[in-house]
């Protein structure tokens, strides 16, 4: 299984970065910038200085991502167009969500999230079928479905953001404020991370593993929706009304997504290790590459998780009066962080590779899972969002 030559080649192109950009790259940058300025002008009443900063920071990040990883552009445009369509169809009436056909069945946030759920589950089966049958068509279908699901999930979040404002200007908030919303975020983040690796390593069999964990998240979302009716938009408690939420939570979920991905590759690693000549060994990248992707994912996750924890501490200092309170959620973030720090040390300084680290990455997923779900279920503390 060779790496994607197109991407690897770029490492050797000596043209200065900006000169390497084509016309489309500049169109892309212009579009993002126009979007950001429009959002700024339209919604400036709802933003403070920090939030304006976050808006332009996000725009810059998105431009950079689109330059470095071209599929991001089509993806973002699809999300933007569908979201704008939903916003236009809603107008100023939330009840249009029940009467307008497109909203009701396609792009109201709840419908979009249901589409996302269905597509992720179908994608999982497509990827699994690819492994079993070797049909690369099935793999491509899996990819297409994963992309579509990710578009729908992102649209769901964007539209939900708008819907919350339609419920009342004082209720509106970015949809990363409770367990339901962050589970959607988790699914979307993990999928996006996976899709970069899929392209980079030109291998779709990994999808069967990564999409399985996403499907598990989807199962939770569905249970949470139908059994607990947790999908209703709730107003924010005062502690969450802060610009910090906009950066702290997404940063955390890049981390969680990457850790989940690493763990699932760990599973793949162990399975292949058990049966070196088996079906999986033929379809998946080599053990060395799996090991390397695992490291890369954990490194990425660790870096973002570090940032998220630091941002969390800074937020805590502003909201609770102290940057560290040994609150259970905080403490579990530290535990997750220490766990992966130990993992990285074992690999980098002790030279560990392979099986033990794969196991450790899988255990790490459970530690992570407890930090983001278990703490809310079993422990009480200052983190006010989403008890189960």
């Amino acid at each position: 299984m060779s790496a994607n030559p197109e991407i690897m080649h770029r490492g050797l192109d000596t043209t200065p970065f900006l000169k390497r950009l084509g016309a489309f790259d500049w169109v892309w940058a212009a579009l993002v910038l126009i979007g950001a300025v429009a959002a700024h002008r339209l919604y400036s009443d709802f933003m403070d200085g920090y939030e304006v900063g976050i808006l332009y920071g996000t725009a810059a990040g998105l431009i950079w991502l689109g330059w470095g990883w071209k599929p991001m552009r089509g993806f973002s445009l699809a999300v933007a167009l569908l979201s704008l369509a939903a916003i236009a169809l809603y107008g100023s009436e939330l009840t249009n969500g029940n009467s307008n056909f497109f909203l009701k069945f396609l792009i109201s946030s709840q419908s979009a999230i249901m589409w996302m759920s269905a597509l992720y589950v179908m994608a999982t089966f497509a990827y699994i079928f690819e492994i079993l049958s070797g049909s690369s068509f099935s793999g491509r279908v899996g990819s297409a479905m994963t992309w579509s699901a990710t578009v729908m999930g992102s649209v769901g979040l964007m539209v939900r953001w708008r819907e919350s404002y339609l419920m009342g200007a004082d209720i509106g908030h970015i949809p990363v404020s409770n367990l339901y919303e962050v589970f959607v975020l988790f699914a979307v983040m993990t999928a996006l991370l996976y899709l970069t690796y899929e392209r980079r390593y030109n291998n779709r069999a990994m999808g069967a593993f990564v999409l399985t964990v996403i499907s598990a998240a989807v199962a939770f979302i569905l249970w949470y929706t139908f059994d607990r009716e947790a999908h209703h938009i709730q107003p924010l408690v005062p502690a969450l009304q802060s610009y910090w939420m906009k950066i702290h939570v997404p940063a955390n979920f890049v981390g969680y997504g990457a850790f989940a991905l690493a763990a699932m590759l760990g599973v793949a690693y162990l399975l292949i290790d058990r049966k070196p000549g088996g079906l999986l060994a033929r379809r998946l990248p080599s053990l060395e590459i799996l090991d390397d992707i695992m490291y890369k994912a954990i490194a990425l996750g660790f870096a973002f998780f570090t940032v998220a924890t630091v941002l969390g501490a800074m937020w805590a200092a502003e909201a609770w009066g102290g940057y560290w309170s040994w609150d259970p959620k905080e403490t579990w973030a530290l535990i997750v962080w220490l766990n992966y720090a130990a993992w990285l040390h074992l690999r980098l300084t002790k030279g560990w590779r392979g099986v033990p680290l794969a196991w450790w990455a899988i255990v790490g997923l459970f530690v992570t899972l407890f930090a983001f779900l278990g703490v809310n279920m079993f422990l009480s503390g200052l983190h006010s969002y989403g008890t189960l």
Binding site: H9, T306, T331
Partner: protein, 643 residues
């Protein structure tokens, strides 16, 4: 290194214990949960305050020392490594490299040095070259900052720990160990707190909380320490001018804010600022946070009916939230501890009401503590609540905070009061009247005459049954029935007992109606019948209700208190500096890859032989491929055509 990894894991495990076992709860709760033996063991291990125990800090200390030593040992080598290009490396060493290539070029050594040097610079390398005896050496490297990443990130751990230690209460712990500080555990007025439980304004770091009612002030905060507290003095006074809270339609707080005044002896004028959640006021290094809110001592007027002597004139009680009144009742003396007042109570509305939420109006929460110390908790609503079109006064009761309230619904009169209910209850408690009625019923409904040998027994048991019902409630009647007859007849017995009680009280009700001058010639109308059922329901719960009094909230004056958290954390900026170093360091480590490359160029017989060797720090998987491409590129650029 093994030590570092072990420490990371051990600290993580210790931290887990601290989250699973709720920290710093009242020690009594732990005794109940674990029993006295394990309580002592856990307490001895410091498990109830893990993050404050010596051994946990010792672990952190080890990590600090281990990281410091690690940084101290590695830094010089890393810096050397980052700066030196190693132009003197031996041919032998280069040939030992895993990544190595060799080719020939017709270009001169001088040209090669410049073209390949430039090419390497274009690839982002820093390049040096040196003319040796008989050969030239070009040494290049890039991504050196990646090595700096190690220093930054590991040094940051040291910086963060130091900043945290400044803000941790280490001096306080030492003072406590020396016995200079005594933790206060009693609930006593601030003025009575002893000097050795009070910390002066020279304490440089703390985090405490205080509640200030509207119009009041405080120049201190309380620091929670394990199961007690310390008083921390402030060099200024904080006064609460006004507190405002807004709610969502669901009754959930939307925002709350306090208009604060700081009166500082160093300032001529008082300073004013409004704070709210996420928007603290930082004044002279003291940060003042809006943390919570509570009742600041609302004044409430209660009307108290004796449930034992319902015809007695109700008492008027002036209460204040968080204060205690004495109640003298026929059942003995009670302490009335008013714990809270809520100006409104929003709950999801009844199905079909067309509204999502319903406001049940003000409520007062209190405890009634009997002389033996046992207490029950009550919540009483001020405004009558409509249930299926009828109106009731609601009072909830529970024995412990873990239970749900059980609600007593007292039907109200047409004028909104409960006098009629009390009159009915008076009659129902009137033993003489009950006996009279019981006799009459025994004759009329059970075909007995006073001459019957069982007549008196029957009457007495009827009366006892009714008294049981009114004094101990319906559950007691059910129990009695179950005790008296075999199991297969339980239901039958229960329903016949209840019928008996109903019959008796029905006659009492008729007396009440007649007393009110109501014409009963056409029977009892539906409204009156309904009232009877509702009153009977209320009677049936009076026993378990357990209160000698029914308290009705008459008037109130709401006083709010703001909950402030005041902190002094001089280490915060050090911690933040550490955090920035950490974030930068981690990204440098992961995303800047330090690699070196040498070109040894030796001229011989009109052509040059180029030996290329390369190495990456902790070689990563992509390096093989990168090296391959690099070789191709450099080979190409060392041919004459390419130039």
């Amino acid at each position: 290194m093994n030590l570092a990894i072990t420490l990371l894991v051990v600290i993580a495990i210790a931290a887990i214990i601290g989250t699973v076992l709720q920290q710093n709860q009242p020690y009594n709760d732990y005794i109940i949960k674990f029993g006295p033996y394990w309580f002592e063991v856990f307490k001895g291990l410091g498990l109830f305050d893990i993050y404050g125990t010596g051994w946990f800090w010792l672990l952190l200390g080890f990590l600090l020392i281990s990281t410091t030593i690690c940084v101290y040992r590695n830094t010089p080598a890393i810096i050397r490594d980052m700066r030196h290009f190693r132009l003197d490396v031996q041919e032998k060493s280069l040939r030992a490299f895993k990544h190595r290539d060799e080719w020939q070029s017709e270009l001169s050594g001088e040209v090669l040095v410049t073209t390949l040097g430039t090419r390497l610079q274009q690839h982002g390398y820093q390049v040096r070259h040196k003319q040796h005896d008989g050969y030239r050496m070009v040494a290049a490297m890039r991504g050196g900052l990646g090595r700096l990443g190690y220093i930054l990130s590991h040094l940051s751990i040291v910086v963060i720990c130091l900043g945290g230690a400044i803000d941790g209460n280490l001096p306080l712990k030492l003072a406590e160990m020396r016995g200079e500080i005594q933790i206060e555990k009693r609930n006593i007025p601030v003025s009575e707190i002893a000097a050795n439980s009070t910390l002066g304004t020279d304490n440089s770091s703390f985090r405490g909380s205080v509640e200030i009612p509207e119009g009041s002030r405080a120049n201190f905060v309380f620091l929670q320490v394990r199961d007690g507290y310390l008083l921390q003095q402030l060099p200024f006074t904080v006064a609460l001018e006004d507190f405002r809270i807004e709610h969502y339609p669901s009754g959930m707080p939307k925002s709350f804010e306090s208009d604060l005044i700081i009166i500082d002896p160093d300032e001529k004028e008082p300073l004013r600022q409004t704070i709210k959640v996420n928007h603290p006021w930082v004044y002279k290094g003291y940060a003042i946070y809006q943390a919570s809110f509570s009742d600041g001592g609302s004044e409430i007027k209660l009307k108290a009916w004796s449930l034992d002597k319902p015809d007695a004139e109700p008492l008027l009680i002036d209460g204040v939230v968080k204060e205690t009144n004495q109640l003298v009742t026929p059942r003995g003396d009670y302490a009335l501890e008013v714990t809270d007042f809520k100006p409104f109570n929003v709950f999801p509305a009844e199905e079909g009401s067309g509204k999502e939420f319903h406001n049940y109006g003000p409520s007062v929460i209190f405890k009634l503590r009997a002389a033996n110390g046992e207490a029950r908790e009550y919540v009483n609503y001020q405004v009558p609540i409509s249930v299926e079109g009828r109106h009731f006064l609601l009072s909830g009761m529970r024995d412990t905070p873990a239970e749900e309230y059980r609600f007593l619904h007292i039907p109200i009169d047409s004028d909104g009061g409960i006098n009629r209910f009390m009159r009915f209850l008076t009659l129902a408690r009137d033993r003489a009247l009950i006996e009279r009625i019981a006799r009459r019923l025994t004759t009329s409904d059970f075909d007995m005459t006073p001459e019957d040998p069982n007549f008196n027994d029957f009457v007495t048991s009827l009366v006892e049954l009714q008294q049981l019902f009114i004094n101990e409630g319906i559950d007691a009647v059910v129990e009695l029935a179950e005790r008296r007859v075999p199991e297969e007849k339980h239901n039958e017995a229960i329903s016949s007992y209840i019928k008996l009680v109903q019959g008796l009280l029905g006659s009492v009700y008729v007396e009440l109606l007649q007393g009110e001058g109501i014409d009963l010639s056409e029977g009892v109308d539906a409204t009156q019948a309904q009232y009877f059922d509702d009153a009977l329901n209320a009677f049936s719960l009076l026993g378990p209700y357990g209160s000698p009094m029914f308290l009705k909230l008459e008037e109130y004056k709401h006083v709010e208190a703001t909950g402030l958290q005041i902190a002094r954390a001089p280490g915060q900026n050090i911690v933040y500096l550490g955090c920035v170093m950490l974030m930068a360091g981690v990204f440098f480590m992961f995303y800047l890859h330090h690699r070196r490359l040498w070109l040894r160029i030796e001229e011989q017989d009109g052509h040059a032989t180029i030996l290329l060797a390369a190495a990456g720090h902790r070689e990563r998987s992509d390096f093989d491929h990168e090296f391959e491409l690099m070789c191709g590129d450099l080979r190409q650029h060392s041919s004459a055509q390419a130039n």
